[in-house]
Point group: C2
């Protein structure tokens, strides 16, 4: 099946979690907005398409199905792309982990937009600085300690009993945090050996390595979720 | 099967979305922390239980399965409790809608905790007032217009083709917003006739009506997600 991915052009954003799964599996897909512009998403968002109504991108069209919400898209794709171990328990656990990744992604976003996503970062710098402090000092450690434990309980190298979309998403999470909060992540370095090893192995997977070198991988930037603002990541 | 629900005592919080599904279906369940105290959750959160590792409550024990994240719990319970229409498309759409409800729940929480959930509201009042303004003026309308459209595209009365856990969660969302933002919700009144009618019908379902009258329903309060602070919901 040729999947159609719909997501904003110009940023990795939440679409990247889906893109990594499609790329890793070598799936046949079109990144529709990058071919035809962001306006290609509008009929779906305005309810002109006679199926499930997305609240926001990303959404995926798979045959007649339209599926929105990153974790739901991956829960659907996982078994189709061979990116989740078999069995209900593994599928459920993968879903749960993906939603927890979604939670820290929201928190990472809100470090630069603690008041409103309809205002610029520059209009909420003071609150951003405060929120980022807590995010760096409390939330990053809490979430990453958790995911480190998840890998420890998995097979020691991966979140589940074998390679899965959760590992790909953990790679993306670590990459994003490294970009946005290099100083905070340097302080976390020794605390997350399993996550670090996992992220390195994911980057070396042939399809992922090829993707990361390709023009299909948009660079991190200050329009996305993971933004590097030095004021939000001081040296000490 | 006797389900075991684990959630903090003293607040409705995210556990309430699960509780409403269990109550509506007349399922056999124990609200473990309310019987044995919050400490009953610790072995699971500390990884002493040999299964999926929850990041935070709520989590559900169903036989040997431990399932965390509200939307994942409901995706699991839906078919078991008869609370989702049959078929993959409906199950996926229900999941997507539940995750969108989870998103607005985070945003509702962050109106009173825009900087950090480890500080008191009183320590972040100024930012809370700003964030709440955007939440009332932009986010509540955006989300509720969306859910109104979802019902319109559903069967006109419900989100999906028949009664589902999504409807129960929409009832809880509306109830929470009414409690926290009565003035803002009064201004929304005419804009969401289908959501209003749905919430009323859910409240009248025999099992839900009995539950809401019972001591099992904890009252909304200022320790939970939906908090009523008059400063965050001015009259105009």
């Amino acid at each position: 099946m040729r999947y159609e991915l719909y997501y904003w052009t110009g940023i990795q954003g939440r679409g990247e979690f889906v893109r990594l799964a499609l790329e890793d599996a070598g799936a046949d897909y079109i990144d529709v907005a990058r071919k035809r512009g962001d306006s290609a998403m509008m009929p779906f968002l305005r309810g002109k398409y006679d199926g499930a109504l997305p609240f926001a991108p990303p959404f995926l069209k798979a045959g007649k199905l339209v599926i929105a919400q990153t974790a739901t898209i991956l829960a659907y794709l996982g078994p189709h792309l061979g990116l989740v171990p078999g069995g209900q328990a593994a599928e459920i656990y993968a879903q749960q982990l993906q939603q927890t990744i979604a939670d820290i992604v929201v928190e990472a976003h809100d470090t630069h937009h603690p008041i409103s996503s309809s205002q610029y970062y520059e209009q909420q710098r003071a609150a951003a600085k405060k929120r980022a402090t807590f995010f760096r000092d409390e939330r990053i450690p809490k979430y990453l300690d958790y995911f480190e434990s998840v890998i420890e309980r998995g097979n020691g190298r991966q979140a589940l009993s074998r390679h899965s979309y959760v590992d790909l998403s953990l790679f993306q999470l670590i990459s994003g945090l490294d970009y946005a909060f290099p100083n905070a992540m340097r302080r976390m370095q020794k605390r997350i050996p399993r996550l670090r090893a996992l992220a390195e192995r994911i980057a070396e997977r042939p399809n992922i390595a090829a993707y990361l070198q390709s023009p299909r991988r948009i660079a991190f930037n200050e329009d996305g979720i993971f933004r590097h603002y030095p004021a939000l990541d001081p040296k000490n």
